[in-house]
């Protein structure tokens, strides 16, 4: 049987093509990709770069859970979830989620569900480097 999910956490540049090519399938007409990139401003502050840290073994497990629940829940065929760690510059890719499905509606729903869930449960942390220092996002120590 074809591999249906492709999960990756890497400190190297992520590839939209790799994710697209993984999900491409003769039985599918709808492919939706979410590509999360680093933007130059957040809440009025100038961002210089981001740094991502991960509890990699557990993050992979959580990403697999999300991937399989996507395929079940939404009648999607294949899904790729790739997340970058380490330093990530402006316009670089932090995360890619690609989903293929017979029909486009399921692909859109599965892709949006996957990124929403990833942000809730996958043990990855983001540090913002601003002009005046660096801060862990969401963390109030």
């Amino acid at each position: 049987m074809d591999k249906l999910i492709d999960i990756k956490i890497s400190d190297k540049v992520l590839s939209v093509d790799a994710c697209y090519n993984f999900v491409l399938d003769q039985s599918c007409g709808g492919n939706v990709l979410f590509v999360g990139t680093v933007r130059d401003m957040n809440k009025g502050e100038v961002i210089k770069k981001l740094a991502f840290e991960s509890y990699v073994e557990m993050a992979i497990k959580e990403m697999k859970k999300i991937a399989y629940s996507c395929l079940e829940k939404f009648d999607a065929k294949k899904i790729a979830l790739h997340h970058r760690i380490g330093d990530v510059g402006l316009e670089e890719i932090a995360v890619i989620i690609a989903v293929s499905a017979k029909h486009r509606k399921a692909a859109f729903e599965a892709c949006e569900f996957a990124i929403d869930e990833l942000k809730k449960s996958v043990p990855i942390w983001k540090k913002e480097y601003l002009e005046n220092g660096s801060y862990w996002v969401n963390a109030r120590p």
Binding site: G36, F52, E53, S54, Y55, E57, M58, A59, K61, H83, A94, V95, I115, L118, K119, K120, S121, V122, P123, I124, W125, K126, K127, W136, V137, N138, A139, R140, P141
Partner: protein, 79 residues
Amino acid sequence: MKVKCFGIVKEIVNQEILEIDGNVKISTVQELRTFLSKQFPEMSNINLCMVAVNQSYADDHTVISSKDEIAIIPPVAGG
């Protein structure tokens, strides 16, 4: 007992793996939370963190021992 630390927690305890002396009695996640918030006053908001046991999210009643892989999971921010 060894506890993996990430993100803001790693910075607070100033190490990736926190070693807790075997003489300290910690047998549940709740007891670990109590120990950490006493030991590290900066972790007063420890309740915002999750605790993972053997790479799965655990609740406060989960029983833990030094054989488990334990990690403090501050609020995640992937994507």
